[in-house]
Symmetry: C2
C-alpha cells in the first residue's frame, strides 16, 4: 500500500545482501526504514517490535534463516538460527510455521545450495502472503457489500482492534484487506480504530495506514467500543489473529475478547480475518496457547510528539506502582461469527475450518 503516495511493502530485499523493513516502533511519529543483514538483526527486529504482526514476523524470521545460511550453511547453524528466531515471540504461530517451512526446504539440501534456496523461499513466503491477504479481501468484500446494501448509502461502520493491517503483513493486511477493497470499490466505510493499549498499535499504526490510504476512520479508547455497539453505531467487527486453534478459538491482541463479548451481547457480527498459516492444527483449544507477558514499561510509559517538535517518552502512572502486561487473550470460538480466509468464509469451529482446508 502507499505511504505519502509511494507504494511499499513492509519488507523487501536489497540485492541479496540485506532486507529492508519499516521501523514500526517509530511510527506514526517518524517514517524510517532499517536494513537487516544477519539472523541476529532479524531476531532483534522481531523481539523489539520493529517488525510485528504475525505474517510479517514469519517473513522476517524466514529471511533470518537465509542470512544464517549465507554465513554458514551447516545443519548446526540452521538449527541454531531456527531456535533463536523461534524464541523471539511465543504466541504467533506463523513464526513457527515459517521457520518449519524454511527448515523443511533446507535440511535435505546440499550446503552449497542452501543460501540460494533459503533466499528464494523467504521471498516466496512474502509473495504468498500478499496473495493470501488479497484473497481474504476479495471474500470479505462480498460480505461487506451485502451489509452495506442494507445501509441505504450510510457508511458501513467497522470496528477493529490492534493492527491487522498491511503493516502487520507484507501488503493489504488481513482485517484491513476487505476494508481497503471496499473503500476502493466506492462502498462508503468508516472504521472505529481501537487505540489498543498498551502499545497503541491502533492509534499509531492502523490509524496511520488508513489515513495514508484515505479511509475515513476515528480513533477511540479501547473502553469505548462496547458503548458504540450498544448505541447501534457498529455494523461489524473484524480483527486479525496470531493463532487459531483447531476448535476455532482465537488468540489475538489483548482486549479482543472484550470486544467479542460486547459484539455478542449486541448482535454485532464479529469476524476474524484468518490466513491459513495462522491455523494451529496441533492445538485442540485456546486454553493451551502460551500468552506472552511483556514489559511493564509498555503500560507505565508512553511515547509521543512534543509540542515543540521531537519525540519523548513520558512516565504516565503513579510513581512506584507496578504493572502487568499480558500481550494476548483468547476469544472463544462461540463469540466469533466467522473466519474470513483466503479460500472463503467459514464457521468458527473445526468443521468450518476443515470444510475449507480438508488437507
Amino acid at each position: 500500500m502507499k505511504i505519502a503516495g509511494k507504494p511499499y511493502r513492509t519488507i523487501w530485499p536489497r540485492g541479496d545482501e540485506a532486507v529492508e523493513v519499516i521501523d514500526q516502533t517509530r511510527l506514526p511519529h517518524e517514517f524510517a526504514t532499517l536494513a537487516l543483514r544477519a539472523p541476529e538483526d532479524c531476531a532483534r527486529a522481531i523481539k523489539t517490535m520493529i517488525v510485528r504482526g504475525a505474517p510479517l514476523i514469519g517473513a522476517t524470521a524466514a529471511y533470518g534463516i537465509a542470512f544464517a545460511m549465507r554465513a554458514e550453511p551447516s545443519s548446526k547453524a540452521l538449527v541454531a538460527a531456527h531456535d533463536m528466531l523461534l524464541a523471539t515471540r511465543p504466541t504467533a504461530v506463523n513464526l513457527r510455521w515459517a521457520l518449519k517451512r524454511m527448515h523443511d526446504v533446507l535440511h535435505a539440501a546440499s550446503h552449497g545450495e542452501r543460501f540460494t534456496l533459503a533466499w528464494r523461499e523467504a521471498a516466496a513466503i512474502c509473495d504468498e502472503d500478499v496473495e493470501i491477504c488479497h484473497s481474504i479481501g476479495v471474500h470479505g468484500l462480498k460480505l461487506f457489500r451485502e451489509m452495506a446494501a442494507k445501509k441505504n448509502g450510510a457508511p458501513l461502520n467497522i470496528l477493529t482492534h490492534c493492527n491487522a493491517g498491511w503493516l502487520a503483513c507484507i501488503d493489504w493486511g488481513t482485517a484491513t484487506s476487505p476494508i481497503y477493497q471496499a473503500h476502493d470499490a466506492g462502498i462508503p466505510v468508516h472504521v472505529w480504530v481501537d487505540e489498543t493499549r498498551p502499545r497503541n498499535q491502533g492509534a499509531s499504526l492502523t490509524a496511520y495506514e488508513l489515513g495514508q490510504h484515505g479511509v475515513p476512520h476515528t480513533i477511540i479508547a479501547d473502553n469505548a467500543g462496547g458503548h458504540y455497539m450498544q448505541a447501534g453505531r457498529v455494523d461489524l467487527c473484524i480483527v486479525g489473529t496470531d493463532r487459531v486453534t483447531k476448535n476455532g478459538d482465537v488468540a489475538n491482541k489483548i482486549g479482543t475478547y472484550l470486544k467479542a463479548l460486547a459484539a455478542k451481547d449486541n448482535n454485532v457480527p464479529f469476524y476474524v480475518a484468518l490466513p491459513s498459516p495462522t491455523i494451529d492444527w496441533t492445538l485442540a483449544s485456546g486454553a493451551s496457547i502460551p500468552i506472552e507477558e511483556r514489559s511493564a514499561d509498555e503500560v507505565l510509559k508512553m511515547t509521543g510528539r512534543l509540542p515543540g517538535g521531537g519525540v519523548a517518552t513520558v512516565e504516565i502512572a503513579a510513581p512506584g506502582s507496578p504493572a502487568a502486561n499480558p500481550g494476548f487473550d483468547v476469544t472463544p470460538a462461540r463469540l466469533v461469527k466467522g473466519f474470513i480466509t483466503e479460500r472463503g468464509v467459514c464457521a468458527a469451529k473445526e468443521e468450518g475450518l476443515r470444510s475449507l482446508f480438508p488437507e
Copy 2:
C-alpha cells in the same frame, strides 16, 4: 485518607472565605492544592476535572452555591449559580442532587441567612458523604471477608475500573472503602487497577491512593481484565457509579460495561458501590442517561513525567487522525451481582433498591 502520611479530605474549608481542593489534574505527577472562592471557580474546577468523581462534584457545586450567596443572596443569583453549575457535567446525578438540596434549603430562607445556611449545608453534604462511604465499606467488608475466607490465606484479587476512591469522594471512597477497610483489618487483598483510558484515572489516581495507603496493587491496561478473569485471577470486581436508574442500570466510566460482560462470562461477581444520592429515581432505565462526549484531545494526547524531570504532554496518535471520546457507558442491571450501599447490599433491580430505600 493519607498522602505522604498526612490525613486529607479532597475538599476542606479555609475559614469561610474559600475551600481548598487537591488539583487532581496534576496527580500523580505533582501534589498541589488550589483555593476556590467563587461559583465560577467551582464550575471551572468541575469542568476541567480539577475535582472529579460524582460525590466530590456534588460537594464542590454545593460550595459554589454558597459562594454565590455570599456575593449576592438573591433568588435570581441562586438560580443562576444553580444552572451554571448544573451545566458543567451532564452524566453524574450527584451534581443535580446536591444542587437541588442546596436550592431547597435556600429558596425559602431570608436573604440575610442564605450564606450561613448554604455554607453549613455544603459542609453537611461533605460530612454525610464521609459517613456514607464509611458505611459502604462496612457492608462491603462483610462480603470481602466471606470471599477471603475461601482463599486459604491467598490474597483476594479485586479488579476496579477508573477511580471510585477517596479522591472521587470526600474520604474513604466508594469502591475503595471496603478495600481500605479489608486491608486495615489484615485481610490480604490485591487490586488490579484498570488504567482507564483516556484520562487514566486508574493508573494515575487509584494506583496513587492505594500506593499511599500501602495496599498491594498492579496497574493493567483496560484490555487485560478479561484475560485475567478467564485465567481465574480475579475474585471480584467492584466499581463506582455516576448514576443508577430505578431498574438498576449503572452509568459509570467508559469501559465498565466491557468488564461487567467479562465478569458475567467468567462467573466473577461484579459489584457496584452505590451511595444513595447516586440513585436516579426519575429515570426508568439506563437508555435515557445522557452520555457526555468529551474532547478528542484526551484520546490523542498523554501527559507524563519526562526522564529529566518536569511534566510534558505528548501527541500519541497518527497525525491528522480524528478521535471520539464518550465519557461513560451504561452497564445493564442483569450484569451486576449487587449494589453495596450505605444501608447494606441489595440486588441490582428496582425491588432491591426499594428494599433498602423504601422512602
